[in-house]
């Protein structure tokens, strides 16, 4: 077993330090070391988007990033989106639109949608579909998810 590395990073605006093995992905670190289990493992090879997080402003699959790579960087996860007494508008739009069924893909979709709206506040339906094509949902057929993201864009 390799020695653990000491990593200093920022997660949801808070300074965080952790120890991890070089082979541990950011997803493993978030879930197993920091107990932030909102990011989910669906495939562990970058095809489903359930583990999406925002790394220094860029949407990434946390299963494809090593934990040690986040040293000195900033990570946004689903746990950081809502205020203590108020949901993020994308979260509200998902609830209002019934845009989730089992909910396992939902954190990834919400993070992806946030990354989209951060850089394109008024996307077309096609742009939403293009951007979210890296996130798989097996329950909804995507209809209500796309509507939720368009609604969230209109609301902000």
């Amino acid at each position: 077993m390799a020695r653990k590395s000491h990593v200093q990073t920022t997660i949801n605006g808070e300074a965080v330090e952790f120890l991890c093995e070089p082979r541990q992905s950011l997803l493993e670190v978030l879930r197993d070391e920091l107990h932030l289990t909102g990011a989910k493992e669906g495939c562990n090879n970058g095809n489903c988007g359930a583990c999406s997080v925002i790394l220094d402003g860029r949407l990434v699959n946390s299963c494809l990033v090593l934990g040690v790579e986040t040293d000195g960087k900033s990570v946004e996860t689903i746990e950081g989106l809502a205020d203590p007494d108020k949901l993020h508008p994308i979260q509200d739009a998902f609830l209002e639109n019934a845009a989730l069924q089992c909910g396992i893909c939902t954190p990834g979709f919400i993070i992806s949608a946030k990354a989209l709206l951060d850089q394109n506040p008024n996307p077309t339906e096609h742009e939403v579909r293009y951007w979210l094509a890296g996130n798989l949902c097996r329950c909804t057929g995507y209809d209500k998810i796309v509507r939720a993201v368009l609604d969230a864009a209109a609301a902000t």
């Binding site: 077993m1 093995e21 082979r23 879930r31 107990h35 932030l36 289990t37 909102g38 990011a39 989910k40 493992e41 669906g42 495939c43 562990n44 090879n45 095809n47 489903c48 359930a50 996860t77 689903i78 746990e79 989106l81 809502a82 949901l87 979260q91 998902f94 609830l95 209002e96 639109n97 019934a98 989730l100 069924q101 089992c102 909910g103 396992i104 893909c105 939902t106 954190p107 919400i110 939403v128 579909r129 293009y130 979210l132 094509a133 890296g134 996130n135 798989l136 949902c137 097996r138 329950c139 909804t140 057929g141 995507y142 209809d143 209500k144 998810i145 796309v146 509507r147």
Partner: protein
């Protein structure tokens, strides 16, 4: 149509009760569960599709630093060769156990051989590679027709074909042959002016739930076994564990955590007994997670099939005869859903003469599992394509031929049951009058297709208790795991009875120690049967609250009525009290009120759907694009219309994936070559338009609010509807699923 009823809660669209937890990442799914002292388990799987296990040596793995325990089939109790009923039909215990950990033979690539518990998941994975297994590789049988050949390699020496009550005298891969018969099939074909016979092949497909299987198990020193997991049914997990581990039900508690999709694939257990064995061996809690390849290769997909369909009709469009032979791949052990497919195939039509033969055939692929209307999609691909061809030959509109032959109340299916009030005709009429069906459809290489589908739905056992809170809200306790919004649809039925808002009901899904037996979330039964139990439990609350009001007012109970959330005294005294105010006075009138109900309702009512799809076919690449999709479906009564639409849209899109892309691709050695989400290509949102879900409401007489299950039937029509649309676009009848670009190009003669 029955009278329109006015509801306050039913038919509205409240925010689901578990919504905030699920949009904030706080909801705890099976893999999220943490407990002190946790070990991590991994499973070693067979690299061969068919092999005798000569020896297993675990010594190197056991010596690996960090490894705490290794188990093989030797650690399972000796399985009796008996048949157990575990909530979804009878299964052989020997087969069930062998599928958990292979004993003498590995029967598919991915078959579990051994498992390791270690301090870290990576160490467990490393240790799996240190287990030395000697195999004697045998020739695999990979396709249903090949498996039925008389000289095919035999997978189970002990299987004799059970055919219509007779048992064969020599080993066979055909486990069973069933038959449903109605009328006189020869007479039916004699009466026909036109007869069409076609054959169809469908590939193996997976449910594709995004959350892999998971289980955490812990044995206490007093022998109490607790298993935390994602499952469609905590009680069926308890039953399967009790049978496989030969352990008393009273000592097993199954805690259902949130579940990330199932679609039928999370009823059977795979790694849950393995986690229990590892927990027993190590004395520690052990969490076992599958990776995605494990899910594809080591859990039950839905079967590939070979189906012939022959139908005859008169010149004026009356279907006089319908015949099919359906051979389904069961996978490594008997038990494909061919029976369910046989129940559904011609069910939408009141045809006088029907003959249905079904064959359950073992092959060297994973043991199949239910997948949303299991068997019915394979079946409808055949029957609904042939009906389209009949309509075309007879120059009758394809929806019109369905109206002419459609089943109604009082008609009986070939497998026996007589339909109660059903809404098939109404779904066809809704499709016919929809603007989609009348919109222009003339562009080159664009086509429109329609198809219908049936799923019978089930009832089964459900239990609900309702505890009344002093502020007029209630806590509803149930055992149906919530896979797509059923906390809301169950709570709303209680709220309607109690005259309180949906938000005043707090639904909780609890473990097997905390509620009466509740069958799986499957068969489109949860909103129907557990919702029915919630309705009855709420009625029980009302009865008890009437007693309290009577006591408070010193009147006879018969003189208290409950309407619109208010109790009032009739026949004399003028008294009135709201549900909320009476809730605050339960202590002084006799103590808390707990309503309860248990159900096993028989009137699930069938579900029908009719779909219309427009496609564009790219003649150069063979790619099919879905341009527009409209799905009409009889929901009986939509409790929460948004989640009914969601079920329809989700089912349609799974059907689109099945139609166009999804299949297990095997090499000659029986290895699945596309066991990842990159290569097993499920639809993304970029592949799709909006899906127009049209809810038709023909109330089910078997439910107080008229509910019919809605979850399964929407997956049934899409492959046939899309095949019919492709024909309309390019004049080619596709008879193999998926209708992937390579198959389409071949059919068009381009490659």
């Amino acid at each position: 149509m029955s009278e329109k009823k006015e509801y306050k809660v039913i038919g509205t669209r409240p925010i689901r009760h578990d919504g905030v937890d699920k949009v904030t990442g706080r909801a705890i799914y099976g893999a999220d569960f943490q407990i002190t002292g946790l070990l991590h388990g991994r499973v070693l799987r067979s690299p061969h599709a068919h092999a005798r296990i000569v020896s297993i040596d675990t010594s190197r793995a056991e010596a690996h630093p960090g490894v705490k325990g290794v188990v093989t089939a030797q650690d399972l109790p000796e399985a009796e060769d008996k048949i157990a009923d575990l909530g979804e039909g009878a299964v052989s215990l020997k087969y069930l156990c062998d599928n958990i950990l292979a004993s003498d033979k590995a029967l598919y690539k991915g078959h579990a051989i051994a498992a390791v518990a270690a301090t870290d998941p990576h160490i467990a994975e490393e240790a799996c590679e240190l287990i030395d297994v000697e195999y004697e590789v045998l020739p695999p049988v990979l396709e249903v027709r090949a498996a039925m050949e008389p000289d095919a390699p035999i997978i189970h020496e002990n299987i004799r074909t059970s055919s219509l009550g007779e048992t064969g005298d020599k080993p066979s891969n055909v486990a069973s042959h069933i038959q449903f018969k109605k009328g006189d099939i020869e007479k039916g074909f004699d009466e026909a002016d036109i007869v069409i016979e076609r054959e169809f092949v469908t590939g193996t497909v997976h449910q594709g739930y995004i959350e892999p299987h998971n289980a955490t198990a812990l044995y206490n020193p007093d022998g109490q076994l607790t298993v935390w997991c994602s499952t469609q049914g905590a009680f069926t997990v308890r039953e399967q564990l009790a049978e496989i581990l030969q352990y008393p039900i009273s000592k097993i508690k199954v805690v259902p955590l949130e579940i990330g999709g199932g679609f039928g694939g999370k009823i059977n257990v795979y790694i849950k007994p393995v986690a229990a064995l590892l927990a027993k061996k190590t004395g520690k809690p052990v969490k076992v997670l599958m990776n995605r390849a494990d899910v594809f290769e080591g859990t039950g997909p839905t079967p590939a099939s070979y189906i012939t369909v022959k139908m005859g009709a008169t010149k004026d469009g009356k279907i006089t005869a319908a015949q099919t032979s359906m051979a389904f791949e069961a996978g490594a052990y008997p038990g494909s859903p061919v029976g369910a497919g046989a129940m559904c195939i011609f069910a939408p039509y009141n045809t006088e003469n029907v003959l249905i033969d079904g064959y359950d055939v073992v092959v060297n692929k994973p043991k199949t599992a239910p997948y949303r209307a299991p068997g019915a999609t394979n079946a409808a691909f055949g029957s609904e394509t042939v009906i389209d061809e009949l309509a075309e030959e007879l120059n009758i509109d394809p929806l019109e031929i369905r109206l002419m032959n459609g089943a109604k109340e009082g008609d009986h299916r070939a497998d026996g049951p007589v339909f109660p009030r059903i809404g098939f005709i109404e779904t066809v009429e809704a499709a016919k009058s929809h603007p989609h069906y009348t919109a222009p459809n003339g562009k080159k290489h664009h086509g429109r297709g329609v198809a219908s589908g049936f799923w019978f739905n089930i009832g089964l056992e459900s239990s609900v208790t309702i505890n009344v809170n002093p502020d007029g809200t209630v806590n509803l306790v149930e055992g149906s795991t919530d896979i797509g919004g059923t906390r809301a649809s169950i709570a709303m039925q209680a709220a309607e009875v109690l005259g309180i808002p949906a938000e005043s009901v707090n639904p909780t899904v609890v473990d097997t120690n905390s509620i009466g037996y509740t069958a799986v979330t499957g068969g489109s039964r949860t909103t129907y049967a557990t919702g029915y139990a919630a309705y009855e439990a709420a009625q029980d609350v009302v009865r008890q609250m009437i007693e309290r009001a009577a006591k408070l007012w010193d009147v006879d109970e018969a003189n208290v009525q409950f309407t619109d959330g208010e109790f009032s005294s009739i026949n004399g005294k003028e008294e009135q009290i709201s549900f909320r105010d009476l809730s605050a006075r339960l202590g002084e009138t006799g103590g808390p009120v707990v309503g309860r109900a248990t159900m096993n309702p028989a009137g699930a009512g069938g579900a029908f759907a009719t779909h219309v799809v427009d496609v564009a076919v790219d003649e150069e690449t063979g790619k099919v694009e879905i341009l527009r999709y409209t799905a009409t479906q009889d929901a009986g009564k939509a409790i929460h219309p948004s989640y009914v639409e969601g079920q329809i849209q989700g089912g349609v899109v799974q059907g689109i994936g099945w139609a166009l892309n999804e299949e297990y691709i095997y090499n000659d050695e029986g290895e699945m070559t596309n066991a990842s989400f990159l290569d097993y290509r499920m639809p993304t949102c970029l592949d799709l338009p909006m899906i127009d879900a049209v809810i038709v409401e023909v109330p089910n007489p078997g439910h107080p609010y008229g509910v019919r299950g809605v979850g399964e039937v929407p997956i049934v029509p899409p492959p046939a509807a899309i095949a019919n649309a492709i024909y309309d676009a390019v004049g080619i009848r596709m008879t193999e699923l998926p209708m992937s670009p390579d198959r389409l190009l071949k059919a068009m003669g381009k490659i």
